[in-house]
């Protein structure tokens, strides 16, 4: 028990955790990771205009990831949702139009001539190359797919050009091939996507038939990825924005401040109420509740779970519910004290009797949280999912703290001299005498 509690505080006190390959933490308060609605940022959902194949979708995700990385956002997230949707999250980005412009671009695949001007003509020395557009683009290609070299059995990329472009390509490869002499500086042919080189190769023989292949030390998976990429540039998939959500950092900060303020005030009021009504038992519950808060936040950090406004609301709500378990136990204890049991005994019976109610009651909340999770995750509504996840963690931890921590502390206190004064534990003390056991 002490380990769990101590661990929770330690987790929260260290902003960045890096332990045995486990890296957690951020610059946000307590090192928690905060959602877009609290730090500001952009959340976009796009849908393709026709149903794409798996590979087409993979190519699209790659293209957009490559472009989004240019934005310099620290933790961008590009995820496929269902068959034909993309969810793009850009935390901290203020310039919405810049993002939409990049994402809205049509993927452009270009065939580029890379002249080598000095040795060594290796990809490791990009400064030795000067790139020159050939005018041939993805639109001039008719296919690109992964295959194997019939002789060596090695994976290769196969591609073909449209009939109209074959002539120009033949001339181009013939020119490039001439530079490929021993001791010379061989020029290369490259496929570039949005200005970034996907693959480049020296030309071992002029390609006159309009279809060629790229050999290399590729793995089958690399070639497959490459084919998907080239295809996505050959036949770009049009996408439409179907949902957009932008929150400026200032608005996010306002929301965060307000939620924290609400949480602190709510917690303080609940603690006061508990102590006022249940006296010493309330104080113990109050301590438990503070520990509860630390544990939940530590779990949020370790998972890690991104805290959104709705997640915070669920967490604050779960504070109220965590109190419920304690109240159930205390009310039970009071009854036992009232019928004249000694305090240590009342504590034990109180916990045992209250457990079935706590268990049965919380299961209904957990069922609802699970349903909410699916409701939220089928659409693109992350706030519902955030609420469900926070609520689930809150309920589970509250059961643990009430049953394990409150109980240990109560038993500890009840065993001391304080335990002789039931008045300290309930508002009306108990009927009759001042010490337990006389009123039975």
């Amino acid at each position: 028990m002490l380990i769990v509690v101590g661990g929770s505080f330690a987790t929260l006190s260290i902003k960045n955790i890096d332990f045995a390959g486990l890296q957690r933490g951020s610059s946000d308060p307590l090192g928690l990771s905060l959602g877009l609605d609290l730090v500001g940022g952009i959340h976009l959902v796009y849908q393709t205009e026709f149903e794409p194949t798996k590979d087409e979708m993979a190519g699209l995700v790659e293209n957009i990831t490559r472009r989004v990385n240019k934005l310099g956002v620290s933790e961008p997230s590009i995820q496929q949702l269902g068959k034909d949707r993309l969810v793009i999250q850009l935390p901290g980005l203020e310039d919405e139009e810049q993002a939409k412009k990049l994402i809205g671009q049509t993927a452009l695949l270009e065939i580029v001539e890379r002249s080598c001007t000095a040795n060594p003509c290796s990809d490791l020395f990009p400064e030795n190359f000067t790139d020159q557009l050939t005018g041939l683009t993805g639109a001039d290609m008719s296919s690109a797919f992964a295959g194997t070299n019939t002789v060596t059995g090695q994976p290769i990329l196969l591609f073909a050009l449209n009939r109209g472009a074959a002539q120009q390509f033949a001339q181009l490869t013939a020119d490039l091939h001439e530079t490929n002499v021993p001791g010379g500086t061989p020029d290369q042919l490259a496929f570039q996507m949005d200005g970034e080189t996907l693959v480049s190769a020296v030309v071992s023989s002029p390609i006159t038939s309009g279809s060629g292949q790229i050999n290399g030390n590729f793995s089958a998976e690399e070639v497959r990825q490459l084919a998907i990429q080239v295809e996505s540039g050959r036949l770009p998939i049009p996408i439409t924005e179907i949902s957009a959500n932008f929150v400026a950092a200032s608005l996010g900060a306002d929301s965060l401040d307000q939620a924290l303020e609400a949480g602190i005030i709510g917690l303080a009021l609940v603690l006061l109420f508990m102590i006022g009504y249940y006296r010493l038992a309330g104080l113990i519950a109050a301590i438990t509740l503070v520990l509860y808060t630390a544990m939940v936040l530590a779990i949020f950090k370790l998972f890690p779970i991104t805290l959104t406004l709705s997640g915070l609301a669920a967490f604050i709500l779960s504070l109220g519910m965590a109190v419920d378990a304690n109240i159930l136990i205390f009310e039970r204890m009071k009854e036992e004290v009232r019928i004249g049991r000694t305090l240590p005994f009342a504590v034990q019976i109180g916990f045992n009797r209250a457990w079935t109610s706590i268990r049965d009651g919380n299961v209904s909340t957990l069922i609802i949280a699970a349903i909410l999770f699916f409701f939220g995750s089928t659409g693109a509504n992350s706030s519902v999912t955030g609420f469900a996840v926070s609520l689930t963690i809150g309920v589970l931890v509250s059961m643990f703290t009430a049953i394990v921590i409150s109980r240990k502390m109560m038993a500890l206190v009840a065993g001391t001299r304080l335990g002789k004064w039931p008045r300290l534990f309930s508002p009306e003390g108990y009927k009759g005498g001042t010490t337990a056991g006389q009123d039975a």
Partner: protein, 324 residues
């Protein structure tokens, strides 16, 4: 404290609230859907100058958004602030060329440009939900509510499998649950008609949470009834229920109070996007606490006493009809 004795009154009160809720829900619009469910866009704008809301509305009307809702922020002294919340219908997307540059303004750009002409503005929040997603949200919400109701029904039947006639406990809890849900929906229907209170995905989240809470509360009381039946086999069900409610009422009230404290604190401080959620929670906690004692438990008494056939005649509104 004879709780069973006042069942006539609480049944009457609930019947009144229930019927009133059904009536408001029957008058369209039953609930005012937010952009999550109807599709549309919402802006949070910060203007450099203080603007007259009528002027903002007029400007939006001129560019084809007469249906828009315009809500200025309100300063401490009651005057309008510089921050505006604006809600419009679905917007056309901007058309972009190969480089992603806008060639034809979409609905959003048009709105921002014409409002910027009134006073320079900064967009600090923007939300756009297309009809496709809105339709899915409606469908998913409906599925979630139905699945939740079924799951709870199964769960309650299971939780009370050891008591005599578990179906009675389960049905009573479900009646309380429907009672709570309909009254909360009725309240929102009225709030929607009067104050443009919108129903969004977070609202559904709130309704489901309330369902969970209502069941939780009912289970605690029923659990005690179950225990007392075993403890005092000689007592009548009326006495058992009176005793059980008396024993659990402090817990029910204290839990509700703590929940209302935290929800209240959130309501005062938290952002507008979760306000519908908080309203539902507050209303649900109050109705849920009331119904677990006065509806679920008392229904159990009525049923166990075999009064169920007479129950209709005890409700004055239905009574005369039955007599006729």
């Amino acid at each position: 404290m004879n709780i069973v004795g006042i069942r006539k009154w609480t049944f009457c009160l609930s019947a009144l609230l229930f019927i009133a809720s059904i009536v408001t829900l029957a008058i369209p619009p039953a609930l005012t859907p937010g952009i999550d469910f109807s599709g549309g866009a919402a802006f949070t704008l910060s203007f450099e100058d203080v603007l007259n809301p009528a002027l903002v509305e007029e400007t939006l009307g001129e560019i084809g958004h007469p249906e828009s809702i315009v809500q200025p922020s309100v300063e401490a002294d009651g005057s309008f602030g510089k921050r505006y919340f604006i809600r419009v219908g679905e917007l056309d997307q901007a058309l972009r060329d190969q480089n992603g540059v806008i060639t034809t303004d979409g609905g959003r750009e048009k709105i921002e440009k014409s409002l910027n002409a009134l006073s320079p503005l900064t967009v600090i929040g923007f939300d756009n939900v297309s009809g496709i997603i809105a339709g899915e949200n409606v469908r998913n919400a409906a599925i979630a509510v139905v699945v939740a109701a079924l799951a709870i029904l199964v769960y309650i039947t299971w939780a009370f499998r050891h008591v005599p006639s578990p179906l009675r406990y389960g049905t009573s809890a479900i009646v309380a649950l429907i009672h709570d849900t309909v009254i909360v929906l009725g309240l929102f229907s009225i709030l929607g008609k009067l104050f443009d209170f919108e129903v969004n995905a977070m609202f559904i989240t709130g309704v489901l949470t309330v369902i969970g809470y209502s069941v939780n509360d009912t289970i605690v009381v029923f659990d005690r009834v179950r225990e007392n039946i075993g403890k005092f086999p000689t007592l009548s069900i009326t006495e058992i229920v009176n005793l059980s409610v008396r024993e659990t009422v402090a817990r029910s009230l204290n839990t509700s109070i703590t929940l209302l404290i935290v929800v209240g604190a959130l309501m005062l401080f938290a952002a507008s996007s979760i306000q519908p959620l908080l309203f539902v929670l507050a209303a649900g906690v109050i109705v849920g606490t009331y119904s677990s004692i006065f509806i679920a438990t008392l229904m159990l008494v009525v049923w166990e006493n075999g009064e169920i056939r007479n129950v209709a005649s005890r409700i004055p509104i239905i009574g005369p009809k039955r007599a006729a």
